[in-house]
Symmetry: C2
Subunit: 161 residues, 2 copies
DNA sequence: TTCCGTGCAAATGATTTGCAGGACT
DNA sequence: AGTCCTGCAAATCATTTGCACGGAA
């Protein structure tokens, strides 16, 4: 099942690569994730996988999935990439809570249009863009939660259990 | 001279810190730079400085300058921060050429407004934002320059000589 | 003398890569 | 046989930090 799985296999084929069990395992997992995730988190979630997938392979496969167009890669916090499924999803940007790190997606036609316009005015041909709005989410505004310490190397809160 | 120098000194004072010769040297240099620069580039440009400023001090001082509001910090390429003067400058975002890395600034009221609006709709209180449009600049579109290989660890093209 | 600052070198931490053995064709 | 892969451990690389000495209040 999965047009995406086929898509990946097709991509690999064009590159003379194979869909190994590890890559399959990673793909499956990736397709079940709803939100944004980091390579580390993905690796953690695969700990119990019988195929025993190494961290190196996770990184290598994530790169392939991005190349194949199945995943989108974001760089919200320095030195910490985050991924999300690209398929079946319309383009969107992100609102990120500086206190709890919650990520909310948004899409605004007006912004998109102006963006194109601006690029055109400068003679640029748009290839892609990143638009992130950092702020305090409603929840954190109420609780007055502190801006969280994402100062150093922002490590995602380990989701254990 | 320099309202900015005063500004920095004022900031340091509030923190119980001092304006040492090294910090002064870094500040001076920073104030003469027109474009965006990395910590490494700044450090290089200070090699000839008689005060002998270490890389660690450059990093530490850059952080202070950002805190003081004199510099803005961007994270265009992963793991490679870039700075620019904040003073006397209105807010703006960036158009970045994927081929030659040229950076063009832009400001669009409409985008800014919509941005605020979007955040509000989601109950967010905006703290800051990043908006980068990646594309091909007019020059590179003509020459058909290749998208440059910023794949791995984006190291700025070493400007030697 | 008490902080604050600095340089140096070592530490970080996410991500990448070299290498040797395995698997699939 | 010949690729393509994988895991492991070591390497990267920008940035941070521990430490011990130096300087100004």
């Amino acid at each position: 099942m999965g047009a995406e799985a086929d898509e990946f296999q097709r991509y690999l084929r064009t590159k003379g690569l194979k869909l190994t069990s590890q890559r399959e395992g990673i793909l499956e997992r990736v397709l079940t994730v709803r939100k944004h995730f980091s390579a580390e988190e993905l690796f953690d979630s695969l700990r119990d996988d019988p195929r025993g997938i190494s961290k190196a392979t996770v990184y290598r496969t994530l790169a392939l999935l991005v190349e194949a167009g199945l995943l989108e890669e974001h760089d919200f916090e320095r030195g910490h990439k985050v991924y999300e499924r690209a398929a079946n999803r319309t383009h969107h940007d992100h609102l990120i809570c500086v206190a709890c790190h919650r990520i909310v997606e948004f899409h605004d036609e007006q912004v998109e249009r102006r963006q194109e316009q601006v690029a055109r005015e400068h003679g640029f041909e748009v290839v892609s863009h990143t638009h992130q709005i950092f702020g305090r989410c409603p929840r954190c505004r109420q609780t007055g939660a502190a801006p969280a310490q994402p100062p150093r190397s922002g490590r995602l809160r380990a989701q254990r259990g």
